[in-house]
């Protein structure tokens, strides 16, 4: 960083601190990745502060565990970056208030009716590969299962520690139902290894160690737009792909309910929605298709989206995990 930039940064920090004295502070809990300079955090902070006459303060870390431990004494006004795996648990705490947004015209592949958890972006789970290296990619989930064991090696994430891994369990369960165990038995030999999180898995893929990685249909967009590399593609399966929305919610206990509501409004504003596309490499929850960047408009997309309602997913995940563990135990 140039010294002048540092100085400017320091000055602006002092300015914000001074300003912060008389402005209300909206506290937003977010995951770690959110607040890095490549995450959406900085843009959200700038954009919202420009319109709210307030200070937005991100607290990065374990969002829901922290709120649950704090209970009704939580400092959070809003949480952002939740995944669907925790909504049932979060809802049961009774700590969250309705988002009061009209979700009838969201640009999501499913109809969104949840009154509390508001999606701000979404993607579909997909297996991503390098088309210059993998000459025989699967064209359907069934083809993936039926391929010889040595056709390709896949890295997946552990469902116990990663939302991608858990969504894969539900994906398989949704397609294969009672036969999910058999599906896993066919998939397991092609799984090179299981990583704790998405980062490790994706790193192993980009290092060339794995032929395919469990990621998202939107992953290739990053490589095309940021690296001018169109070799990474998502395998599109006719059976359908599992939806992974990212969510925000406001707290009942917020001391600034109006600001919190304004933040929920901001999330669905065109400004936020346009920004989130490349800040989070996902589809925005509410933005007409023609306003998307060209690369996103042209991304190959599945015809069918799979998504289990919260209650059903909650019921299935325990047994699905057992099935998964059994398949790998062999």
């Amino acid at each position: 960083m140039k010294p002048t930039l540092m100085l400017a940064g320091a000055l602006s920090l002092i300015a914000t601190m001074a300003a912060a004295q008389d402005k209300p502070v909206l506290t937003v809990y977010a995951p770690d990745y959110f607040t890095s300079e490549w995450g959406p955090g900085p843009a959200i902070e700038k954009g919202f502060e420009a319109r709210c006459d307030c200070t937005l303060k991100f607290v990065a870390g374990d969002v829901l565990p922290r709120v649950m431990l704090e209970g009704d004494k939580t400092k959070a006004d809003v949480v952002i970056g939740l995944n669907t795996d925790v909504t049932a648990k979060a809802r049961a705490t009774g700590l969250f208030a309705p988002h009061n947004e009209d979700t009838s015209d969201l640009t999501m592949p499913v109809k969104w009716t949840d009154p509390i958890f508001l999606p701000f972006d979404w993607s579909d789970l997909a297996f991503v590969y390098d088309k210059t290296k993998l000459k025989n990619p699967p064209h359907s989930f069934q083809e993936l299962l039926d391929a010889p064991d040595d056709a390709y090696k896949i890295v997946i994430e552990d469902p116990r520690s990663s939302i991608a891994g858990l969504s894969l369990l539900l994906w398989v369960k949704d397609i294969y139902g009672d036969k999910a165990g058999e599906a896993w038995a066919k998939l397991a030999p092609k799984v090179l290894t299981v990583t704790p999180g998405w980062s490790e898995a994706y790193g192993m893929f980009t290092d060339g160690e794995a032929d395919m990685v469990l990621s998202y249909v939107t992953s290739p967009a990053y490589h095309i737009m940021a690296e001018k590399d169109d070799s990474k593609v998502a395998a599109i399966f006719p059976e359908g792909h599992y939806l992974t929305p990212e969510l925000a919610a406001q707290l009942k206990t917020s001391k600034h309910p109006k600001l919190a509501q304004a933040f929920m409004d901001y999330i669905l504003s065109p400004e936020f929605q346009k920004m989130i596309v490349t800040a989070n490499w996902s589809f925005p929850a509410k933005l007409p298709h023609d306003q998307l960047p060209e690369v996103f408009r042209d991304l190959p997309m599945p015809d069918k989206t799979l998504y289990l309602p919260e209650a059903e997913a909650e019921k299935l995940r325990g047994p699905a995990l057992d099935e998964w563990q059994r398949a790998f135990a062999r």
Partner: protein, 516 residues
């Protein structure tokens, strides 16, 4: 009596801090959950797998370390000191960096398999139990080598000279001098590595190839995050503590302190007659060469991948680096302030040794959650972000620092306690004139380890995070999390170089400060 109490007070305080941090937090989690809850079948297989892989990893690390330490002790060659330090590098590597280094060497597309492919040999797989153990040996061979090498160096040169005078051959030296030393050192080394591997999480998961390689630590994670069952998490954490303490007690029963008596601090020179002829030189060279290749190739792979990306690193890496550096410096001070009184007390009081080992048995997740539960009624946990980071980073180094210090303290006490008592040397004067100078080497080594551990720490205590302080490993993860794998590799190189430089500097400083 009052003087005795005064002397032991710092150790009692240090033990209380660690006990609160490990057991108090566990109790807080159990209390919040309304009690412990029962384990499931998968938990039992996780316990089995954990014990098995930890024991095997520790055994292999120790067995392989003997010839390496022996060779390093017997041979003098240019760059030996630097090589010994360099061979320590894997132990202080951040897990994620090391795993990628191992994959670059032993993975499907790694150097080894490419080479094997040229000869038409079936590729090796690093995924599965063998991968977990390979990785654990990679991490811990340096620890075992250092502990055993220290054992060798602790045999006074007078004894070797006596052996030479008596016309001992290598076999007799092995039996009379080296076997008793190994007998004293190995249980401790085995225990330390066993405990390290016991709480393995990311290594076991990433290289384990699937859920068969589930460790207790992962089961705890699952109980917390997947099942939201804090009672089961607490039960599993308790199992982990119980296993560790049992292992500790067994090791204490098995190990006998080696007593060689004090020497006169003359520099130990290897004695040609005892080191054997050309064949042994060849074997020693082979042991050193193999260990070097095994331990350093993955590190070179990380550097090769990352160095070109360093110029492209975003500016925010540098403030994060600074943060990491000064957190490491503070963590060193906290580590030594806790470990030294405990190690001094531990040679006479078993409780001090157990207290010092407690952090190794702790589950990071339980510790963080429990500390949060304890702190929350009184203060805003984010205001404790920094003290918690320092305390947890330091706590993870304390077991190692204590283990490193204890043998030298035993020697120190056996040799000079009576003299110091007769001269009325005690308190701070004793610390300044006797304890610190005599312990300069192990203190430097401990400080280096503490700094390195702190550098590589990901901030397990994310619950306390205020979202403002970003360390280098966190920046690395954020880069990975936003697809910037090349820059992440660059950050990994920076992390690796700085971590090692810190370790090396402190370790050497200890050698320099050693008045011998």
């Amino acid at each position: 009596m009052a003087a005795r109490l005064r002397a032991i007070a710092p150790a009692v305080l240090a033990a209380a801090v660690l006990a609160t941090l490990v057991l108090g937090t566990l109790a807080a989690v159990a209390w919040r959950a309304g009690g412990l809850s029962g384990l499931r079948g998968t938990d039992l297989s996780a316990i089995r797998f954990t014990l098995w892989q930890a024991a095997l990893s520790a055994l292999i690390s120790c067995v392989l370390a003997i010839p390496v330490a022996r060779a390093l002790h017997r041979r003098r060659f240019a760059g030996r000191g630097v090589l010994i330090s360099l061979l320590g590098a894997p132990f202080i590597l951040p897990v994620i960096v090391a795993v990628f280094g191992l994959i670059a060497v032993f993975g499907r597309r790694g150097i080894v398999n490419v080479a094997l492919g040229h000869f038409g040999i079936e590729p090796l797989s690093i995924y599965g139990a063998q991968g977990v153990i390979t990785a654990h040996v990679f991490f811990n061979l340096p620890l075992a080598t250092r502990m055993i090498l220290h054992g060798w160096q602790a045999i006074p040169s007078e004894r070797f000279r006596l052996a030479a005078t008596l016309g001992f051959g290598p076999a007799q030296v092995a039996r009379q001098l080296e076997a008793p030393m190994l007998r004293a050192v190995l249980p401790g080394a085995f225990l330390a590595i066993f405990l390290v591997c016991l709480t393995s999480f990311a290594v076991a998961l990433t290289l384990g190839g699937g859920p068969r390689a589930t460790t207790v630590e992962l089961a705890i994670y699952q109980a917390f995050r997947f099942d939201f069952d804090m009672g089961r998490a607490a039960s599993l954490a308790l199992v982990q503590v119980a296993i560790s303490v049992t292992a500790l007690l067994i090791a204490a029963k098995v190990s006998l302190p080696a007593r060689f008596g004090a020497g006169h601090d003359r520099l130990a020179q290897p004695i040609a007659q005892l080191s054997g002829g050309g064949g042994r030189v060849g074997l020693d060279a082979l042991a050193i060469a193999l260990a070097t290749a095994f331990l350093l190739t993955p590190i070179c792979a990380v550097l090769l991948r990352g160095l070109p990306a360093i110029p492209t690193l975003p500016a925010m890496i540098w403030p994060a680096t600074l943060t990491s550096l000064w957190v490491a410096a503070a963590s060193v001070l906290v580590t030594l302030a806790v470990a030294l009184p405990l190690a001094l007390a531990a040679t006479r009081h078993r409780w001090a040794e157990i207290a010092a080992m407690l952090p190794m048995t702790a589950s990071a997740l339980v510790m963080g959650t429990g500390a949060f539960l304890i702190a929350q009624p009184f203060v805003n946990p984010t205001s404790l972000a920094l003290p918690m980071v320092l305390l947890t980073n330091a706590a993870l180094s304390v077991p190692f620092a204590t283990r490193i210090l204890m043998p030298e303290i035993r020697t120190l006490q056996a040799d000079y306690d009576r003299l110091a008592a007769a001269l009325g040397l005690r308190g701070l004067a004793r610390l300044r004139l006797l304890t610190l100078p005599r312990l300069a080497r192990p203190l430097g080594f401990s400080a280096g380890l503490a700094a390195a551990f702190s550098m590589g720490d990901l901030g397990v205590i994310t619950l306390f995070s205020d979202g403002q302080t970003r360390t280098l490993p966190l920046a690395l993860f954020q880069l990975m999390g936003s697809y910037r794998m090349d820059q992440a590799a660059g950050a990994a190189s920076v992390l690796l170089i700085l971590t090692f430089a810190l370790f090396f500097a402190l370790d050497r400083l200890g050698h320099h400060a050693d008045p011998r």
